[in-house]
């Protein structure tokens, strides 16, 4: 059994100004899973995700939300992004799990937990229909991602088989 510590910071970005796109490029293929944590500075931050610069209609997602009084579930198919936020109020904190991101045999599935202490909480599963290893991740907003938002990408290495 391996005892090597994992959960390593690959890259951290703090936005100096509002921007529509944040990209993590040249992601090494040396980990097993990736975790991206986004902490936005406003409640109204809405953003989505793309891989490897693919702007085709190769993405889909399914989500579950609760706002304190009711729950809802949504779906998007043949989309150009994986939707990460569904409420109009956005999601200031997101923890995005990307498993087996570097294999070249499976489509890539991601799980996200979104937390907003004021308006809603939810989770989301997204699919990128491509078997390529993920080498870049773009967070794209229909508006802008607010200044001061932090995005941290971590790598997790599995143990020995």
């Amino acid at each position: 059994m391996s005892k090597t510590a994992t959960y390593s910071l690959i890259e951290s970005q703090t936005l100096g100004s509002a921007t529509a796109t944040v990209t993590f490029s040249s992601i090494p293929g040396t980990f097993t899973d990736l975790i991206l944590i986004i902490r936005a500075t406003t409640l109204s931050a809405n953003y989505n995700m793309r891989f490897n610069g693919d702007t085709g209609t190769n993405y889909s997602d399914t989500s579950l939300w609760g706002n304190g009084s009711s729950a809802a579930s949504y779906r998007s198919s043949n989309n150009t992004v994986i939707g990460l936020t569904y409420t109009s109020s956005g999601a200031p904190i997101s923890r995005i799990q990307i498993q087996d991101y570097s294999n070249a045999t499976t489509y890539k599935t991601v799980l996200t937990r979104q937390d907003d202490s004021v308006n809603a909480a939810g989770c989301n599963v997204g699919l990128w229909r491509n078997t390529a290893a993920i080498t870049s991740i773009s967070i794209v907003s229909p508006g802008t991602i607010p200044s001061g938002t932090t995005l941290k990408l971590y790598g997790i290495q599995a143990g020995n088989a």
């Binding site: 391996s2 959960y7 399914t62 045999t105 997790i156």
Partner: protein, 195 residues
Amino acid sequence: MSITKLTTNGIAGAKYDSVSADNYYMEPIATTLVGAGGTATITFSNIPNTYKHLQLRILSRSARTDAADGIALRFNSDSGSNYSWHYLRGDGTSPGAGGSATQTEILLSYDFAANTAGSNIFGIGIVDILDYANVYKYKTVRILAGNDRNGSGAVGLCSGLWMNTAATTTLTLTSYWGANNFLQNSRFSLYGIRG
């Protein structure tokens, strides 16, 4: 989470944090990457008791003749009716909830992929097993899992209980719906979390 190491690179304008906290609190214990023949059972045994929590990270597609499959979890090979579970899930149209008591295993989620899902589609899940080595508490797990199939699929939050105070030394995973193999490229990775 305890931070045990701080590093600084001191490079002005670098894209990395000027001071980064490397959270060396998570350690890999073991992993199973399923090979060409598939396998019906995943077992992690001789789990050390030196961590505070465990995390199981799953990428799975099974041979069940359906688009989705559930995964069941047992502790320490206990096949008695000592488990219960609850879930909250959304299928893209409506949310749903359910649960069951006095079960012989914990249902981690209904929403891993199976054999009639589109090619190359797998479901994924994160399973946290809290205070797994404590001998005074029943063991509780929480799960986030799902699979999207471009027009179908579901995502959900689940919880499970093993009504036994024994320290967890073995975890066993099988298809919830019978003897369905986990298919090639499925991966099950166990990690220890330092307290």
